[in-house]
């Protein structure tokens, strides 16, 4: 059971306080988008062995969504940061690079 820190209220809490919301930083494709973009937005998800960005909501706490950068193999949590961003902040990327020099970076 993971231990996560909510960047909004600062609480470090049990996984059962949170709910997972799948892959983070998806770009929405609405009306007028082509089939490939829409398909990718709706259905295609990364499933990496290693660095992963995923959405969590502090549902039994402050109610805020945030994003966790996490290693799916070792379960190390590199950082958590607010959801109001379209890509990982530079300092988060730097922190991951420091821990995982072989990481290909955020795409």
């Amino acid at each position: 059971m993971l231990l996560l820190s909510c960047p909004c209220c600062g609480v470090s809490a049990e996984e059962t306080e949170f709910v997972n919301g799948g892959e983070a930083h998806l770009k929405r494709f609405g009306p007028g988008s082509d089939d490939a973009d829409y398909e990718s937005y709706m259905f295609n998800r990364k499933n990496p062995m290693g660095v992963h960005f995923e959405r969590w909501r502090h549902v039994h706490g402050c109610g805020k969504w945030f994003i966790a950068a996490r290693c799916t193999v070792t379960l190390e949590v590199f950082a958590t940061y607010p959801a109001q961003t379209t890509e990982p902040p530079a300092e988060v990327v730097a922190r991951i690079k420091a821990r995982r020099p072989d990481w290909e970076g955020y795409k």
Binding site: M1, L3, G30, V59, K64, W65, T74, V77, Q84
Partner: protein
């Protein structure tokens, strides 16, 4: 014969004898005994039968690793199968029965399997039962099911009478194991000011050191133990828990502790088990080591035990395993058992040492005591059936061709070396390395399981870490937490001589011996089975395990796994570390399901949500139905009335005069802010920004696939405030859905959403007399037809109570829904019942609500929708805006499959014979699809008997349904017979909507 010695036994209290029974026979033990110790004291060598061959089984070990001594414990509601005698504390009146035999333990018909052992090899089931295929279901499977499983299940009519509970705990250091390493580490950590929890699975502390090393370099081990425990128990930052096993280590320092509080006091007024849910900064794995058996023919006969278990029984419980004992070993440690038994007066017939020579300090001491030591020798086979009668010996390095000597004995102590208990280290991904010197896997300190910070969070200490010498264990554990102990360095001349890996006795044993060498005595897996698996191509240890069932019994192969994989490695010609281990999974030993459930049973299984009128419903005879986390009245049967009749009465009353419905479970979400209308237009398929203040509009919500997920009436309260009504049970989900979009996609929009569901009760006042009853109450709202038209709302008061009146209808009748502050709901309900008495008012339940809406052709989310239905399927195109550039689900609806004319669409159904169609009935077509399944053209989504129309009515999704009005199609009844129904308009009653608009 095994027996109790006249004195000694550090754990027993001879002044407190305890009576108990085993298979109905009376025995006597002492307080402090385990059931296994007390059985051995009474010479009960035979304690059970093995799973496959029904071979006689005796006690092998003294702790959690025991594979054989599983018993049915207790009686009646407290009966439990598969309880381990070695970890069962004796209590007065204990009743145990042995398992897996018929008719009796002594004489078991199933033992005939043993005669066919040559044919019941690894993979027997897979090979035997595959042909002919038709035999599986009616012949093979019933036989296998009958012979499967150890023990018998408790009577299904009984209920567990005991209490179980869970506790959350947090600490800096959780120490698993209360032996030398664990307690030393705990003391060091505690002195550093850390919060420490120590869990020891046994009722007593000290682990092996008090048995193996009574003299710790000048200090008595017992004294050290007493002092250390006293110190720890006196510290505020330390919690010391006996009878508590760390069952599993999970992600990020989460561990489960299983505390057996009252197993030894059945019926005591305390919880039986407590599950500790611990979050620890560091988990110290000080769980010790387990001795391995040796593989020689007949090593499963009762009386063959682990050598260390013999000395445990001797020192702890003053029980000797026999009068005349043979010790078989490949290491020095077993000599401790030989010497201790000899000193206690037990005859040691010989020590059989597989090593070419035994010249360590312990063998030399044994020699000095006059014990006979046979070097380079092996057990050729053990004689005896239900108990050991002797051993035949041969050279270890030979092929077992010649028996050199036979010895008479009544017990055999075997030692194949020790395996660190690395389970907790491994549960969460800690890796192991192979230790050549000790021939065991031990934790690789470079690859521990990692916590959230990427740092290791488990530390292995003591013999669990492969450190076997007591002084070294103590130094290591002390150093781990900063304190140095002033111990004399370990004297190399006193150290044990190296062991020799011996995986088979003799080294080149022929098949006849190998098929009698047990690796896993509970599941009956032998050396020959693993070798056969290897020959048949099973190279992966995980596959071999499943094929042979090695280590898959209730003991999970604690004593058998390493021996088994050594045999596999040898058969494959690979080094052991290359073959590797199977996966260690929690729990370490079985824990009770009841402890996992904890208090979550009965009324506490799921918290009940209660509407403000819950108590009234209960007091007025509601027949409940579960609706999400609520219970709602299905109907209110009167005395002598069936549920069906009550529902019919309630529907008629609402249609003809006046009914009341508790609609408080309706979801109520407030959307407010300058961008509220913008958000509403994105959430709903309709245009909501054009809704006028004071008016209501029915709206649909879809997910991004375009599938309908919720519906309800929206009221615009002000320019920048909307009140969204959601389905019962949908409020939390829809509120979360709105929050998700607001926080993660449109975070710069100025709007917020609040779930008000619990703040307001809602009462629907329904029927032709609805207006009249409201007007008899004192009110400041003009409820007239034109003053408050259909689909509008007003704020005001009714009978002095603040209300918001919505003129909306889910029944097709004249209807007012009253939103009331939760605390006032009951008061208003009572006033309405009083005022409504003149109109014969009746409350109606959920079933009447369903019939009323179905008669009107109103859809219900979850009945007409199933997550694959788009609004267009339900004829709701009118509720989908064509003007809006975007809303959630719009892109999804544009896909070709969604616009296809071949979709199943909503229609009504009238059965030709007036009967009620079964719910979910399918309309079959001739022909089959590619999977051989019957083709279908439709399915019933809602079906009721309509008291208004006095016939069965239904709604269904039918292929091109609306184009087929009047066509008769057949649906399959529950008996498989077709029921003919005519496709019709889903609105059965008051098609023009005149009744709701009066």
């Amino acid at each position: 014969m095994s027996h109790r010695l006249p004195d000694g036994g550090r754990l027993i209290d001879r002044s407190r004898p305890l009576e108990f029974t085993f298979n109905g026979k009376r025995f006597q033990g002492f307080a402090g005994d385990t059931l296994a110790a007390a059985l051995l004291a009474g010479d009960q060598m035979l304690v059970g039968r093995s799973f496959k061959y029904h071979r006689p089984r005796g006690i092998v070990a003294s702790g959690a690793e025991e594979p054989n001594a599983l018993v049915g414990l207790g009686e009646g509601a407290r009966f439990e199968p598969n309880q381990r005698a070695t970890t069962t504390e004796l209590f007065a009146g204990l009743k145990a029965i042995s398992q897996n035999h018929w008719p009796s333990l002594e004489f078991d018909i199933g033992a005939v399997n043993s005669w066919f052992a040559r044919f019941l090899t690894a993979g027997f089931y897979y090979k035997m039962f595959i042909h002919p295929r038709a035999f599986w279901k009616h012949v093979y499977e019933p036989i296998i099911r009958r012979s499967a499983g150890l023990g018998r299940a408790p009577d299904p009519e009984t209920r567990d009478p005991d209490r179980y509970e869970q506790i959350h705990a947090f600490c800096d250091v959780l120490v698993a194991g209360g032996g030398l390493a664990g307690l030393t580490a705990a003391l060091g950590a505690a002195r550093q000011g850390k919060r420490v929890i120590v869990m020891e699975q046994q009722p007593h502390f000290g682990g092996r050191v008090v048995v193996d090393t009574p003299d710790m370099g000048g200090t008595r081990a017992e004294d050290w133990l007493d002092q250390t425990l006293d110190t720890l128990r006196g510290m505020e930052n330390v919690t010391v828990l006996p009878r508590t096993m760390v069952a599993g280590v999970h992600d990020h320092g989460y561990a489960l502790g299983y505390q057996r509080i009252a197993d030894h006091e059945p019926g005591a007024d305390k919880p039986r088990h407590r599950l500790w849910r611990v979050r620890a900064g560091l988990i110290v794995n000080a769980t010790g080591a387990i001795e391995r058996p040796l593989s020689f023919a007949g090593n499963d006969i009762p009386g063959v035990m682990l050598a260390s278990a013999m000395r445990d029984y001797l020192v702890n419980w003053a029980v000797a395993p026999g009068k005349r004992v043979v010790i078989v070993t490949n290491n020095d440690d077993a000599y401790r058992s030989a010497i201790r038994l000899h000193e206690a007066g037990v005859t040691i017939a010989a020590v059989i040492d597989a090593r070419p020579e035994a010249r360590g300090p312990l063998p030399e001491r044994a020699r000095a005591l006059g014990l006979r030591i046979l070097e380079g020798m092996a057990v050729h086979h053990v004689t005896g059936h239900k108990r050991v009668t002797g051993v035949a010996l041969c050279r270890q390095d030979g092929d077992g061709g010649a028996v050199s000597e036979s010895l008479h004995c009544d017990a055999v102590g075997m030692s194949g070396g020790w395996s660190p208990v690395v389970h907790l280290w491994s549960h969460c991904g800690g890796k192991l390395i192979w230790d050549e010197a000790g021939a065991f896997f031990r934790p690789d300190p470079a690859r521990p399981p990692l916590g959230h910070d990427g740092q290791g969070f488990v530390q292995a200490l003591g013999s669990a870490n492969g450190v076997m010498d007591a002084a070294a264990v103590r130094d290591e554990a002390a150093a781990a937490f900063g304190s140095e102990h002033a111990h004399p360095a370990t004297d190399p001349t006193k150290a044990d001589a190296p062991m020799a890996p011996v995986w088979m006795m003799p080294a080149r044993a022929p098949f006849g011996l190998r098929m009698k060498m047990w690796l896993d005595p509970q599941n009956d897996v032998k050396v020959s089975d693993v070798q056969l698996a290897a020959r048949e191509g099973y190279e992966s240890v995980e596959h071999t395990k499943r094929y042979t069932t090695l280590g898959m019994a209730t003991d999970q192969g604690k004593i058998s796994n390493i021996n088994g994989l050594a045999i596999l490695a040898d058969a494959l010609g690979r080094p052991i570390p290359q073959v590797g281990t199977t996966t260690f999974r929690p729990p370490y030993t079985p824990i009770s399901m009841a402890a996992i459930g904890g208090e979550a049973r009965g009324p506490l299984f799921q918290p009940l949500r209660r509407t403000p009128l819950h108590d009234w419903h209960e007091a007025n005879g509601a027949s409940w139905e579960p609706v999400g986390p609520w219970r709602r009245p299905y109907c209110y049967p009167r005395s002598g009335e069936s549920r069906h009749d009550a529902v019919m009465r309630e529907v008629r009353q609402a249609r003809e005069s006046l009914g009341l419905l508790d609609a408080s479970t309706l979801g109520k979400i407030l959307v407010s802010g300058p961008d509220a209308a913008r958000l509403m237009d994105m959430l709903y398929t309709n245009m909501m920004s054009s809704l006028k203040v004071g008016k209501c509009r029915y709206g649909l919500m879809c997910n991004e696939n375009g599938f309908l997920m919720d519906d309800g009436v929206v009221a615009r309260l002000s320019e920048d405030t909307f009140l969204c009504h959601t389905t019962s049970g949908g409020a939390d989900r829809i509120h979360a859905w709105m929050e998700d979009w607001l926080q993660c996609e449109w975070w710069n929009w100025q709007v917020h959403v609040i779930n008000l569901t619990e703040q307001f009760g809602q009462i629907a006042v329904v029927g032709p007399n609805a207006r009249k009853v409201l007007e008899t109450l004192d009110t400041d709202i003009d409820l007239g037809r034109d003053a408050l038209p259909f689909m509008e709302w007003r704020d005001g008061h009714l009978g002095g109570i603040s209300v918001r009146v919505f003129r909306i209808s889910f029944s097709g009748e004249l209807s007012f829904e009253l939103a009331v502050p939760a605390g006032q709901t009951r008061a208003l309900w009572d006033k309405l019942l009083d005022a409504g008495a003149a109109f014969g008012v009746m409350p109606y339940g959920t079933e009447a609500l369903h019939i009323l809406r179905a008669e009107k052709g109103f859809i219900m989310i979850g009945d007409e929708t199933d997550g694959t239905v788009i609004p267009q399927d339900l004829g709701l195109n009118w509720a989908i805006s064509k003007k809006k550039a975007d809303f959630l689900g719009k892109r999804g609806m544009e896909r070709p499959a969604m616009t296809s004319p071949d979709r199943w669409k909503l229609v009504g159904l009238e059965t030709l014979d007036g009967s009620v169609l079964p719910d979910g009935a399918l309309a079959p077509l001739e022909g089959e699809n590619a999977n051989g399944q019957r083709l279908t053209q439709g399915r019933v989504t809602s079906t009721y008997y309509s008291p208004t129309l006095q016939q069965g009515i239904a709604m269904a999704l039918v292929h091109r349904g609306p184009d087929r009005m009047g066509e008769v199609i057949a649906f399959l009844g529950e008996d498989g017979k077709p029921i003919e129904a005519r496709i019709c308009d889903p609105v059965f009653y008051d098609k023009a909507g005149e009744k709701q608009n009066v």
